[in-house]
Symmetry: C2
Subunit: 203 residues, 2 copies
Amino acid sequence: MTKVLAGITMSLDGYITGPNDRLGAGLGDGGERLHHWVFGGPWTYDRPGGSAIGVDKDYIEEVFASGGAWIVGRTMHDVVDGWGDDPGFGVPVFVVTHRPRETAVKGDTTFAFVTGGIADALERAQAAAAGKNVIVMGGADLLRQYLAAGVVDEFTLTIAPVLLGAGKRLFDGISRTDIRFERTAVVESPFATHLRFRMLYGE
Amino acid sequence: MTKVLAGITMSLDGYITGPNDRLGAGLGDGGERLHHWVFGGPWTYDRPGGSAIGVDKDYIEEVFASGGAWIVGRTMHDVVDGWGDDPGFGVPVFVVTHRPRETAVKGDTTFAFVTGGIADALERAQAAAAGKNVIVMGGADLLRQYLAAGVVDEFTLTIAPVLLGAGKRLFDGISRTDIRFERTAVVESPFATHLRFRMLYGE
């Protein structure tokens, strides 16, 4: 059965980007430190194309293998320039946006731009997922909307052991606090701690 | 050798108190949910004096056994009304404050009110700890000051799986972000995840 998964990486002080993040500046000052667990850190910068290792790699691979469709916000899509020429998702990606745009096909990945809101994007992703999971990738605003809508089944909060001091806060302005996070697993590496939760809604 | 330990419980959205926290209102609206891992939750409310169980209990007992002296901020001390008549620390507690007050002896615990600042409080606590650890309990402002001073050797961030929506943020306005958190252990229970770090300072 299709489940809706969501997850993102947050600093110890609650940020998913660093200071001065904006279009063209990626994740802002020092924001790349959030993703040392994904791409490696200074210790791999002499080897371009660093990638996850160990349990971090296992976690990423498991998520990708389970996903039949992805949902992402337009800002996140644009910040990473649509993951370049070969995004490699291998399944449809639905981009939630207010600005219509033609569907883009890049390698094995199709980006469909959905202007009908989060429910419409979810419906289309569920249909496309063919029984596999729908994965909501972010950014923060989209995650908050899907969490508040009560449709996320499992949420993984990855905590990177860094302080960023400023940036975009993951949970700022979330519209409900009666969401219950039932921890199902904790996966830890030297670079991050993945807290995995089953989501329950209401008191 | 005396080490300086610090730790506190934070919600998923980064708060150490709930909305409307103020003197006389404890941890604010819903803030007690942060400490279900310490005192139990609704499931134990029919048994007054709920307490930690399992790995949470082990963690608390280990910290208390290792402590030769504690440091706490005046606000935190006052919010919990000095832990009542029988605080049970069993070792000296140093309260950092701007408002002088007579030393208070309650059961086996002595509260000394220190007006000389965080360095003075640390020096006195280290002398009193007799080779055991000094533990900085909080609140947020005091923790930020000791972290920024680069004197905390080990830090435990306990993450409670709740959203509070508002309250006091643990890391708000921390004055440096070149603090490195080297994860040494993760202790997980159904009620909280304790992320234990060795602290390193500077790039």
